[in-house]
Each structure stands twice: as structure tokens, then as C-alpha cells.
């Protein structure tokens, strides 16, 4: 058994930020990351962020990742990073089991921050399991991290911000984006992203969805059709499109299963993307000393995950008896930043969702 004061599950924006603030307060932490590198999904985001300067607005996601990673590696006296390590269990008394490079490790922590993020949702249609049908985020990883193209002709399913941004990035990489289709009557993401695509000649078709994929060992064609007010396909509106890849961008779902396993009280909240833990204003779950930060308690933008990480890191440090020298000031600052990020029409779902899980 290994003992740690603070264990952070997940080395994405929320986890890295939490570790940074905790280190400033004097708390030593261990970050456990499933991938072979930290940085989470920021490492593939080549677009510039919105928000305010404090959340690195106008900076590309890949560069924000580097800032956060440097912050952590500069504090290596306080922060230990374990990569290629998957948390496989959370038990009573805050014991975590980890599978790391074929070794099974048990860790006991005084406090745990679960910052596991979210995963891409899937969509039901005929032959949706054909190779060549990918999550939009997965395609972003393939292109922007590894420099490999998903295909030559792509249809994007979903017009939320991820769908729109990844479509643009596909064009940047030289891929033909045949069409963006959106089941709803309106485009889901920011108008500025949609306009950029339209200027480049990409059609964004609303009220249409994917009905079927066709192909042998890889997608070769898809059938799209229009939807009525009850989300049913309208017969006779089917259209075949030749593609060699399809991106599914229909939202994200919190990766909260480790909390369910640990016995935390959970709730399905559609506004937050799926099953999330009940939390108090300190971001503590119903398990004593187990906290959450980032998308695991509600899908939002990376900017929010960063600030939630700072906020939770600050409060957990206080719980462990290490009050940050600027605690009061930072507490107010982080709270205000979160309120700002969630203001306006695009923050409405998050505002309503968080009300449902506050205990």
C-alpha cells in the first residue's frame, strides 16, 4: 500500500490545475493518468480559446496544455505524475486500485479529486460499428496529435462547437468536409464557428440526421434523411453520400463510473450530459474527502475545467490543513470566473444542471 495526501485521478485541464493550486498551498499530490502523457484533450485543440485572459483566451488549446503541464513539472517537488496508469477501483476508506504498466497498485489517500473528464457519446443507426465512423474528438487526436488523416471525404454529424471546430480543422488538414448535418432545427454551436465554415463553402444542413452506413470493412456511403418534429425520419427524403469517414459529434458524457463504484450518490442530469455525482459547494461528493473537478460533474468547456480545478484544489488544500496564503482572494476570484463563464445563453444548461446536483 502506498500512502498519499492528495490523489488526483486524471491529468487533463482540471487535474493539472488542481495540482498546481494545491502545490502552492503546500500539499503534495499524485496525478494518475491513463494516457502516456498528461494534458488531456487540450493537446489536440489547435483553435484559440474564448473567455477572458485568466482562462488563456486567444491562446490555442495546445499552448494552454503546455502552460498547464509546465506549471506542474515546475513543481515536481510537490507533484508526482504517474502515466499509463488506469484507476480500476475506488473503495471505502479512500483506497484506490491502479493498473500501471501491468502492475496492480493500491493507494490510500487522505483526499481524492476525481477529474476524469468525459467521453464522446455515440449515435444509434444501422451499421454504426463500421470502421471509419469515429468520434469527432478521436479524429482531432488522429489529425492534430499524430498527423494522420481520417479519410478524404468526411460528413460531420452534429453542429455543436466540437462538430464545427473539428470540421474547420479537417479543412485545414486538407480533408473535404462534404456536409455538416444537424438533427435539430438550429445550429448548436457558436455562430462565429458556423460562419467560418460557410464562408469556406461547407453546407450545414439542419433537420437532418444519419440513417444508415454502408460498406464492407469500412464505411463507403451513408444515407441521411430529414427529421420531422418528433425526431422521426421523413420517408422519401433519403439521400446517399459517398464518404470514407464519418465523424460523430453528438455531445459528451461524464466519465463518472469510478464514483458510482465508490458508492457516491449519483444522479442523471441531462443538462450536464449524463450521470453525475451529487456535490456540495466545495465540490465534495457524498463520500467523505472525495471531490470532483471538471467535466466529470457536468460537461462544459476546457476553460471551466481549468477554473474548477483551481477552485477544488484550493478547497481540498484547506481541508487537508494547508490553507493557501491567498485563500480568500483566490476563492472569490475563482468563483467569479466560473460565474462569468456560465453566464449568458450558452451557460444556461450548466446553471440549471448544477442546481440539480447541489446538496
Amino acid at each position: 500500500m502506498i500512502y498519499h495526501d492528495l490523489v488526483i485521478i486524471g491529468g487533463g485541464p482540471a487535474g493539472l490545475s488542481a495540482a498546481k493550486v494545491a502545490a502552492e498551498a503546500g500539499v503534495k499530490s499524485l496525478i494518475i493518468e491513463r494516457d502516456f502523457k498528461v494534458g488531456g484533450q487540450l493537446v489536440k485543440q489547435t483553435h484559440m480559446f474564448f473567455g477572458s485572459e485568466k482562462q488563456y483566451a486567444s491562446t490555442r488549446g495546445i499552448n494552454i496544455a503546455n502552460i498547464l503541464i509546465d506549471d506542474v513539472f515546475n513543481k515536481s517537488d510537490y507533484i508526482e505524475v504517474m502515466t499509463e496508469a488506469t484507476v480500476v477501483g475506488l473503495y471505502s476508506d479512500n483506497i484506490i486500485t491502479v493498473l500501471c504498466k501491468e502492475k496492480y497498485i493500491k493507494i490510500k489517500a487522505k483526499a481524492i479529486i476525481v477529474a476524469t473528464g468525459a467521453s464522446e457519446k455515440f449515435l444509434a443507426f444501422e451499421n454504426n460499428d463500421l470502421p471509419g465512423i469515429y468520434g469527432a474528438g478521436a479524429v482531432q487526436t488522429l489529425m492534430n496529435v499524430h498527423g494522420v488523416l481520417p479519410g478524404q471525404k468526411v460528413v460531420m454529424v452534429g453542429s455543436g462547437n466540437i462538430g464545427l471546430i473539428v470540421s474547420y480543422q479537417l479543412l485545414q488538414a486538407g480533408v473535404d468536409v462534404v456536409r455538416v448535418i444537424e438533427a435539430a432545427k438550429n445550429i448548436g454551436g457558436y455562430k462565429v464557428h458556423a460562419s467560418k465554415l460557410r464562408r469556406l463553402g461547407v453546407e450545414i444542413k439542419t433537420g437532418q440526421s444519419i440513417k444508415e452506413a454502408i460498406g464492407k470493412d469500412c464505411v463507403e456511403k451513408i444515407v441521411v434523411a430529414e427529421l420531422d418534429n418528433k425526431w422521426e425520419f421523413i420517408e422519401g427524403t433519403e439521400e446517399e453520400i459517398e464518404v470514407d469517414a464519418v465523424c460523430i459529434s453528438v455531445g459528451l458524457s461524464p466519465l463518472s463510473s469510478v464514483l458510482s463504484m465508490g458508492g457516491a450518490q449519483m444522479k442523471y442530469v441531462a443538462f450536464l450530459g449524463g450521470t453525475v455525482p451529487m456535490i456540495d459547494k466545495h465540490h465534495e461528493t457524498t463520500i467523505n474527502n472525495v471531490f470532483v473537478a471538471g467535466d466529470v460533474c457536468g460537461v462544459e468547456e476546457a476553460s471551466s475545467a481549468i477554473v474548477e480545478g483551481y477552485y477544488t484544489g484550493l478547497l481540498v488544500s484547506e481541508r487537508l490543513g494547508f490553507k493557501h496564503p491567498n485563500h480568500e482572494e483566490l476563492y472569490k476570484d475563482f468563483k467569479n470566473q466560473l460565474a462569468n463563464l456560465r453566464s449568458g445563453p450558452f451557460g444556461k444548461k450548466t446553471r440549471l444542471g448544477l442546481k440539480e446536483i447541489l446538496r
Binding site: E120, G132, Y134, V139, L142, H146, A173, C218, L255
Partner: protein, 101 residues
């Protein structure tokens, strides 16, 4: 296919990593995962479903969905989307659910 020109990113394809895929000698580049190297070679089918033997490729690329599981160096159920390619690896399409060693 690999990206050669990009307005924001630059990719260095310098160090080749040799590996064996279904008995054939092939190569990827330093920094590739097994899945990205195979995709660049045009290989999209990585495994097949257990009962109906339907082709499976990767879906999530974050080690979550298990759709990219392959047999690597004789060991099944390796998540190839989050496993870095190494020199001399032996990678095979996974045709069943894998046996405990």
C-alpha cells in the same frame, strides 16, 4: 495518409519505427500510437466483434471504448489508441475476446 502541410502544426516524420502487422514488416513513426500508425498505412479494421465477427476500428482514441483492442506481442485486449508504437512490436488483428495467459 499523413499530413504534410498544415497552417498551424508541423509534423516531423523522422525516426521510423519498424513493427510487424499480421505477419508483414511495416513501419510507423516516432510518436505514433499503434492505431495511428496502422491508420496511416490504410488499416482501419483492428478487431472484430465477438459473436457476429463484424469489423471494428477505433472510435474514441482516448482508451475508453475498447473498439481498438488488438493482440500485441501475443497479448490480447491492448488498447492500441493509447499504446505507443515500439520498435519490433508484433501486432495482430484480434479475432476473439482474447484468452487469459
Amino acid at each position: 495518409m499523413r499530413i504534410k502541410e498544415h497552417p498551424i502544426l508541423s509534423f516531423e516524420y523522422e525516426k521510423e519505427i519498424n513493427f510487424v502487422y499480421n505477419g508483414k514488416q511495416v513501419y510507423g513513426y516516432h510518436g505514433d500510437t499503434i492505431a495511428s500508425a496502422l491508420h496511416a498505412l490504410g488499416v482501419k479494421k483492428l478487431s472484430q466483434s465477438i459473436n457476429k465477427k463484424r469489423a471494428r476500428g477505433f472510435y474514441c482514441a482516448i482508451g475508453n471504448c475498447a473498439s481498438c483492442n488488438m493482440v500485441v506481442n501475443g497479448k490480447p485486449n491492448i488498447r492500441t489508441c493509447v499504446t505507443l508504437l515500439e520498435e519490433g512490436m508484433i501486432v495482430d488483428t484480434q479475432l476473439n475476446k482474447g484468452e487469459l495467459l
